[in-house]
């Protein structure tokens, strides 16, 4: 398969995965230091192959939605790591001015229609984006990234049926990390052949080993261009393993030791690195350099987040509606009206 992937892309794939992992590790540390906003932080360590593989198969102008574990996907799509880190820290310099946090990062300029804290919540939006693309001849494909857990949410199937029925330029990308919180997929889904399930809704479906990132890239490219050509919506299930807990603090007591150790051996980064070294495209030193650069970049992102300001209270009332519409009347303003005069 790798034959069809040019060398530069293969290296880009590695760099992207290293940047994802560095981002997740650094944001995880920031969380432990109390430097992030909120009690929930979901890391995608172990899933870099799925995120990078699909993301690199997308083109500028393509759109996508992600889920609660979406940092890596957006890093791969070119997200500004400073603004990402700042958002996760709840700072005014963040992508969403501190209003969204880790689970609601978005960037319209890069086609990121938003992460979502509702499992499955972001899936139908890509059907709409696909409809816009088709109706307005935008030439773009829209990709929904979500986890295996969303494969039990009704909205997922309604969306698949609609995308297939209307032959929209849409691809559903399931990052199957084997778990939904503490529940292994076989305890959540009556069948594990997700690709087969998707075919039942008229989608062209492929299943790939996401610990072999080039497989993901190749399959995603095929489905995305197939969809772009108007030949029908696609589905890709990228199998991997969630290396650590559901959220940064979760120690996964519900998983057995042996399984975790085995799972962590299935490392998309090391697999791909070995492939590149074997192909003579990369040296150990080159790898270290790449990894060092990634970590440095993320250290700087953390510094940016830490030195950024928290949003001012007045910003709370902004962004509810378009600026042309008056902002909501605050509770204090109401009290002033009723009681007369200020406090």
């Amino acid at each position: 398969m790798s034959e069809i992937i040019p060398e530069a892309r293969r290296l880009e794939l590695l760099r992207t995965m290293l940047r994802i992992r560095a981002f997740e590790e650094k944001v995880g540390e920031l969380f432990l230091k109390g430097g992030t906003a909120g009690s929930m932080l979901h890391l995608s360590i172990g899933e870099e192959g799925a995120a990078a593989g699909v993301a690199l198969a997308m083109k500028p102008g393509d759109t996508f939605t992600t889920h609660h574990r979406g940092h890596g996907i957006f890093v791969a799509r070119g997200g500004d790591v400073n603004r990402m880190m700042a958002e996760i820290a709840g700072k005014i310099t963040g992508y969403c001015r501190g209003k969204g946090g880790s689970m609601h990062i978005a960037d319209m300029s890069l086609g990121h229609l938003g992460a979502n804290a509702i499992v499955g919540g972001g899936i139908p939006a890509v059907v709409g984006a696909g409809l816009s693309s088709k109706t307005l001849s935008q030439g773009s494909v829209s990709v929904a990234f979500f986890g295996d857990g969303a494969m039990q949410q009704g909205i997922c199937f309604e969306s698949m049926n609609l995308a297939a029925l209307w032959k929209l330029p849409v691809v559903f990308a399931v990052i199957n990390n084997q778990y939904g919180m503490g529940t292994r997929i076989d305890r959540a889904s009556a069948t594990l052949d997700f690709a087969g399930r998707a075919r039942g809704f008229g989608l062209t479906a492929l299943e790939v080993d996401a610990t072999q990132p080039e497989q993901v890239l190749a399959a995603a490219q095929e489905l995305i261009e197939h969809a772009r050509a108007g030949r029908g919506a696609g589905f890709i299930v990228a199998n991997c393993y969630r290396f650590y807990g559901h959220a940064r603090k979760d120690k996964s007591p519900y998983r057995d030791e042996a399984e975790e150790l085995e799972g962590r051996k299935r490392d998309p980064i090391l697999n791909h690195k070995d492939a590149l070294v074997a192909a003579g495209l990369l040296s150990e030193a080159g790898f270290e350099e790449m990894n060092g650069a990634a970590n440095l970049e993320m250290d700087e992102a953390v510094a940016f987040a830490q030195t950024s300001e928290l949003p001012g209270l007045e910003t709370m009332f902004e962004d509810v509606f378009d600026p042309s519409i008056p902002r909501p009347v605050s509770v204090d303003e109401r009290l002033d009206r009723v009681l007369g005069g200020g406090a």
């Binding site: 229609l113 509702i118 816009s132």
Partner: protein, 338 residues
Amino acid sequence: MTSPLPTPSPVPFGQEIEFRAALREAIRQEMRANPSVVLIGEEVARYGGAYAVSKGLLEEFGEARVLDTPISEAAIVGTAVGAAMTGLKPIAELMYVDFAYLAMDQIANQAAKIRYMFGGQIGVPMVLRAPMGTGRSGGAQHSQSLEALFWHTPGLRIAIPATVTDCYFLLREAINSPDPVVFLEHKALYVSKGVLEPDAPPMGVAVTRRKGQHLTIVTYSRQLFYCLQAAEELAKEGIEAEVIDLRTLNPLDLETLAQSVRRTGRALIVTEDTLTAGVSAELSALIQEECFDYLEEPVLRLCAEDIPIPVSPPLEAGSVPSPARIAQTARRLVRRAR
């Protein structure tokens, strides 16, 4: 992309038309003016809409812009949300507002919150149209009035017209809104008729449909006509009721409301949604807050009973306000002896 436009028929201003025709006309004009406006919903295309609102639109604008969908309410709304974020201006239709419960995540957790969660990067310029209310013995799952749910959801704007003129102008404004608008159409009004006036105030402006000095009746949608009927009755007895049609809940024209009540000293709120924690509660609270020192009597609420809506015609009719009950309540309010 869009089928060639026939020579535009002029909008029938000054003529008497049906409520549903006014809605159809608004959609047609916006679809003609803007190729990014699309209509999405169950049976909106070939069938022409369960209540015939979209009859003829498929023929004029084609399948690319008038889309029949499967019975997938959550996906219908979710698709509209995504479309609205990427260049289209979708008008999504729910066959009955009762089905909003199947799409509430996409309505309340997504459409309403997207602009805010994403720090103002983007809005969701979509309209969600749905028939509401009683009158056809549709039963507990086909007759609800759920405007309070939407009003309680920050990020949503709500239009709830009573007249054909408001149907036309408010829907056109809604389609051009940069933020999601829930547009609620009383199913008992679809075939009602009225003269399409050439102009109407924008969202956020309440209209005083009848002037009066003895009490202020605050209402909207179908109940407006019941209130006006009641007011006629009352006039014969020398009671002059001022009747205010809110037209939109968000934005709400609190000023017009408050000024009237400060003048009359008496307020009666009439709605068709169930009383407890409904629209009438917020209106009562607001009036009390704004007019406390002017109130001669308690603010009253005449609304649907706190029960699921029964099918049997006498029960259904008896569960919501009627002109007679409105008049009787107004009488008691005005003549109340302390």
